[in-house]
Amino acid sequence: MTKVNAVIIGSGNIGTDLMYKLLRSEWIAPRVMAGIDPESEGLARARTHGLVTTDTGVEGLLPLLELKNIRVAFDATSAYAHPENSRKLTERGVRVVDLTPAAIGPYCVPALNLERQLHRDTMNVNMVTCGGQATIPMVAAVSSVQPVAYAEIVATVASRSAGPGTRNNIDEFTRTTAGAVEKVGGAKRGKAIIILNPAEPPLIMRDTIHCLTEGEPDVAAITASVERMIREVQRYVPGYRLKNGPVFDGKRVTTYIEVEGLGDYLPKYAGNLDIMTAAACRAGEIIAEQITGGAR
């Protein structure tokens, strides 16, 4: 039985949480973690789980690619660093799953378009943003019933779960999420808002998804579609819950979502990280399946 070997770039919250999910995967084996801080907790944890680590970033990683037969890379660094990381990896034949909002490859939301986006020749696929992973399925649940003229999502995350990447990149978050609300969610126009809340104890990630339908909303069909989509996302994020709604108010359809994480690395309130790493893990598994030709 052979798993496809993978590398994780970035030893922060996302990279470390992802490692735990990949360690449980039937398709992927994480072999290397690359960071830039020799003291980082993520690298220390990676070593205890038998991964080879480097603290010199992608440069330190390149010599290991062939040695460890790495076929898939997960980049959990930043939107600024990602394009260069991706170039170095893809030119060496490694397929890249992008967990930053850089979005140089096609957007991927597993509940919606995983198989469609992941052609065998797609070398880079983008996981949108945490807010996008949590909200776009709800936009699609409405747009699959009838045309959505405008969709707007509000993602509220606990301050503690927003690392420096998100904080330095907050505009990239709103831009990338809004773009994917249109391209993947199927809204004609999209907008995204992110709020950080420092409450203690930290709040569980929550999202509000507003859609304006073109015609009068079909209450029964949309309600059923939302419930179906919740179950679809729960297949890879068990803590994904419909908190309230759908609320119908004229042409406005609003759903209120809560995302509780599995608590692999960070506490359960950080559902924003969990849904990102769970989605990236799913995308990586599909790539691994393609690489091995569906047989192990």
Partner: protein, 339 residues
Amino acid sequence: MSTRHRLLLHEMSLRDGMHPKRHQIPLERMVQVAGALDEAGVPLVEVTHGDGLGGASINYGFPAHSDEEYLRAVCSRVKRTRISALLLPGIGTVDDLRMAADCGVQCIRVATHCTEADVSRQHIGLARQLNLDTVGFLMMAHRSPPEALVEQALLMESYGAGTVYVTDSAGYMLPQDVTTRVGLLRARLSPETEVGFHGHHNLAMGVANSLAAMEAGANRIDGSCAGLGAGAGNTPLEVLVAVLSRMGVEHGIDLYKLMDVAEDLIVPMMDTPVRIDRDALILGYAGVYSSFLLFAQRAAAKYGLSSRDILVELGRRNTVGGQEDMIEDVALDMAAAAR
């Protein structure tokens, strides 16, 4: 009060005042008010959607006109008055900031919750680079003890903010709260950096808190004609100006002209009186973001609840500025619990 920096009064009715107007101030009226404030010698006037650049949304309300339409119209009308725009990272982006600068805005105020200053780096940096009067705006400042607040202010200063504000978004602070926070910022920020205070009148502390802020070293003070602003409104500017005149403080504004703007232009614009009703009072009492007021009243009417109960629950859940989406969510929870 600081001897280094001159007092600068900043008028809010065309930005914070957009909240009680549900962002529907007609373009002509906005231009007329800005022109009258210019005539009265008001040095700085803020014009934006109530929730800042990019605030046009289902969540906060769609305005009668875009930020760009308002800003172009107002900037081309005023002669001496400078125009500012507010920006909340997470809602507005650097693209909005560039647009505002292109319209002729000379001052950008980048607002974050009082513990989240590090999301403002991109925006403060760009405003500084564009050579704009760059202000960091620490909202809901009552939620941070002074020592923590000053760390956030230092971050904004390090990104390039020339002024940092203590912003009492909930109208919760008492003069002593203002004194300790403003005093510590004044002591710890560079002497070149200005310190500001933005008040809400929910506990009728607008003027008293502004004086406390000046006493502790703030030199930029926000107010609004007739108090037009979220909750029970902002510090009523014509009242503050009258008090400053009595104290012999130089402010550069024509008091009678300002009183006339308040009485003849602003009060007739009000859809309902901006006053300390029980909901506005509960904002100040429970420390809740002032612009939640109308949303809570609408949710209360829709779901058969008390708006006061909704606001108290929003306070209990530690909601921050921008979480207007929580209001219907909370109302649904409360309505379900009542059944």
